[in-house]
């Protein structure tokens, strides 16, 4: 289907089903039960899942295929957000031109930055991209927000004000980002018994966009172009010796992933019309690296899983506080309970980053292939066990090679 082989089609269908049914899947617990805090099916979080999924898919096209580790990808996300908010300010709250512009502008910036950075490889490339991103952050944070030429609105963040032109804004359209009148915030809540499920217009826009870009990513992975990028990763020198210039390929990959980041930034602004410089900081770039690694570098589904995993646990872990912990361990004797809570305290709530750092280190050390590799190992282990049982009685002989 759509030029994909059977395996990829089923992967695409699975992802499509998961994203479309996410409001059900992520809300497994009744709304007013004690477990409701583990529900992730509210619009804001679901939007973040897919937006960061898009960001990570794009990053993976660069890092997973070519092996070039960019430490400055958040710059394109920020640029995308700024362009989208400028479209809201100048034209109207319609999200289509905003997202289109954010992709174009992020593409242009990534062309420029990529052209310069890709002259070097390895650690130099990482540091060049880091330098560019920090420069963009510094510029957005202070320089481009002077009264004469206010492009980014500095520390406050860029937002839409009442006296902005908005030349296509008409009466009757919502005063928030919308898709031809359908507000991104409009949510339909379906109550089924004790459960309640939110269907949010913004989420579904993001989900549809994610399915499209996921499909594109599959096509890129399977195309001759994608194979060329893998060749860059496995041995760039040998590729050059065969007479191929690898730079146009890496630059194309860089621009594509920059446009993905811009798209994610534009969607982020479309969900909440605000753009701040902190989105461009290098910790934000580190986060997308983390998502990709955690999910599985160079795999199709990995980055999406990684993004979902990190955003979900960020949300859940930072909600857990001492009283919740006390509630969980109430069955233990008093002294034990206090001890367990004291041990767990640094890892939850505000200490979520500590857990994240430890998790990240563990993944890099023991599971370089990320969650996908972990899943495969698990499947192999289970299969190995089962086939081991069936193999013995059959006693089939394998032909020697």
């Amino acid at each position: 289907m759509l030029g994909l082989n059977k395996k990829d089609t089923s992967l695409l269908i699975i992802v499509a089903l998961l994203t479309l049914l996410a409001p059900f899947i992520l809300n497994p617990f009744p709304a007013d039960s004690a477990m409701a805090q583990f529900n992730a099916g509210y619009p804001d979080l679901m939007q973040r899942f897919v937006i960061f999924g898009i960001f990570a898919i794009g990053f993976n096209i660069l890092f997973g295929l070519t092996g070039y580790l960019s430490f400055g990808h958040a710059a394109f996300l920020g640029i995308g957000s700024y362009s989208a908010v400028w479209m809201f300010k100048l034209l109207s709250y319609n999200v289509i031109p905003a997202i289109a512009l954010s992709i174009v502008i992020a593409g242009l910036f990534s062309l420029l930055i990529g052209y310069v950075s890709l002259r070097r490889s390895g650690i130099y490339f990482s540091i060049l991209t880091l330098a560019f991103a920090q420069m963009s952050f510094a510029l957005a944070y202070s320089v481009l927000s002077n009264p004469k030429f206010n492009l980014t609105n500095g520390e406050t963040g860029l937002q839409v004000y009442a006296d902005d032109p908005q030349i296509f804004h008409r009466e009757g359209l919502p005063d928030l980002p919308h898709l031809f009148g359908l507000s991104m915030r409009s949510t339909y809540t379906l109550d089924v018994g004790a459960w309640s499920f939110d269907f949010n217009a913004g989420y579904y826009l993001c989900a549809v966009v994610m399915m499209i870009v996921f499909y594109l990513a599959i096509r890129i992975f399977r195309s001759p172009f994608g194979i060329m990028l893998r060749a860059v990763k496995s041995n760039q020198q040998r590729m050059n010796y065969t007479g191929l210039n690898s730079r146009p390929y890496t630059l194309a990959a860089f621009v594509i992933s920059g446009m993905y980041a811009g798209l994610a930034g534009g969607l982020m602004a479309a969900m909440d019309p605000l753009a701040g410089a902190e989105r461009m900081q290098w910790t934000a770039s580190g986060e997308v690296v983390l998502m990709t690694i955690l999910g599985g570098t160079g795999t199709l589904i990995g980055p999406v899983l990684g993004a979902g995993f990190i955003k979900y646990f960020e949300n859940i872990f930072s909600k857990i506080n001492d009283s919740v912990l006390h509630g969980w361990f109430a069955f233990l004797p008093d002294g034990m309970e206090d001890f367990v809570v004291a041990v767990l305290h640094p890892f939850v709530g505000k200490g979520w980053h500590l857990t994240l750092g430890i998790l990240f280190m563990l993944v890099v050390i023991f599971l370089p292939g990320g969650l996908v590799e972990g899943g495969q190992r698990l499947i192999n282990w289970i299969r190995g066990k089962r086939s081991g049982e069936t193999d013995k009685p059959s006693g089939k002989t394998e032909p020697a090679e």
């Binding site: 580790l69 540091i127 330098a131 320089v143 020198q237 980053h353 990240f360 890099v364």
Partner: protein
């Protein structure tokens, strides 16, 4: 003339910090071939050694002093630090006052230990892995160390004042023959610069004039051959890692009075230090030191009102700009050698 000199002097303290951190990074890279993203965290841990020692020294007990009363006539509670009660009030007060310089002695064993543990416990397993993995695992470690410090010391900067005798400013202009008040310079910055020079000189002479240093240099040039000669080069490289960690830590200890330490100071310095290392030339120790001071001074020149009014925001981006230009025109950096980090 004096204005130029003033800017150069102003750049020295940051330049010293860049140079010290970049020196450690290059040392680790040159010996072990590892890109250490946790080096900024080591700098931060050093600064928090000073904070810890200051806290230990000012641990005190309360006694009710009958001779002093507040305005209601109740006896006052007087806090006496243990240090003062042990060493007598005068010496005790001096010890508390000099807690930052004393923290050097406290920090050296701690940083050597931390460095040793880091190398043996974690980095050892990453020699054979790609550079990307090394970057990622040390990046993760940096997050962990940072969060641990944040957990114990909180997110706010903690003041670590310099000793009273070194806290004022001096009029350097008079000493150098300029008008009075032309160059007024905080003493601690001068101390920091001299300290950095001593440390850098110490590291270089250690490498240059001791047998241990000679073996390490030989190992940097050709690790395998040195190993074949029956020398346990891994062990020496581990010690060098500890020394690099100690250099970063000491840079952090003495940096406290210039800028109150907080948990993310390491990350802020790390990004710049990497840029410094790259500008200086990956794997070149003199290059790292030179580029550190050069970029520090350049940053100070870019922060003058003249520069910021001509090109707004130049002080924020100058280092990155220089790095980009250097990398594109001299890809190996200012003093980089051939064959280092070139796939």
């Amino acid at each position: 003339m004096d204005a130029i000199l003033l800017q150069i002097l102003n750049g020295l303290d940051k330049g010293s910090a860049y140079a010290l951190i970049a020196l450690g990074l290059t040392l680790i890279f040159g010996t072990l071939g590892v890109v250490n993203f946790a080096h900024g965290a080591l700098f931060m841990i050093g600064a928090f050694c000073a904070v810890t020692l200051q806290k230990i020294f000012s641990l005190s007990y309360e006694v009710i002093d009958e001779t002093q009363t507040d305005f209601l006539g109740n006896p006052l509670k007087v806090k006496t630090p243990y240090v003062e009660s042990w060493f007598g009030p005068e010496l005790g007060a001096v010890i508390i006052d000099w807690s930052v310089p004393l923290a050097i002695l406290f920090a050296i064993p701690i940083m050597l230990g931390v460095g040793y543990a880091m190398e043996r416990g974690l980095i050892k397993h990453f020699y054979k892995r790609p550079h990307a993995d090394q970057i990622l695992v040390t990046f993760g470690l940096a997050i962990v160390l940072q969060e641990i410090v944040k957990y114990f010391f909180g997110a706010n900067p903690i003041q670590t004042p310099p000793p009273a005798a070194l806290s004022g400013s001096v009029d350097l202009g008079v000493a150098l023959g300029f008008d009075p008040n032309a160059i007024i310079y905080p003493i601690w910055r001068l101390v920091y610069f001299l300290f950095a020079v001593v440390i850098i000189g110490g590291v270089f002479s250690f490498l240059q004039f001791t047998t241990f240093g000679m073996v390490v240099r030989a190992g940097m040039a050709d690790r395998e051959t040195v190993g074949l000669l029956g020398i346990n080069i891994d062990r020496r490289f581990t010690i060098m890692f500890g020394i690099a960690a100690a250099v970063a830590g000491l840079a952090g200890v003495m940096y406290g009075p210039l800028n109150p330490p907080n948990y993310h100071m390491g990350m802020d310095f790390l990004v710049l230090s990497f840029v410094v290392v790259v500008v200086g030339g990956m794997g070149s120790l003199p290059g790292a030191v030179l580029a550190g001071f050069l970029l520090g001074i350049l940053e100070s020149f870019a922060s003058t009102t003249w520069a910021t009014t001509t090109i707004p925001g130049i002080n924020q981006i100058i280092i990155y700009l220089v790095a980009i230009i250097v990398l594109l025109t001299r890809p190996r950096g200012l003093m980089g050698r051939k064959g280092v980090m070139e796939e």
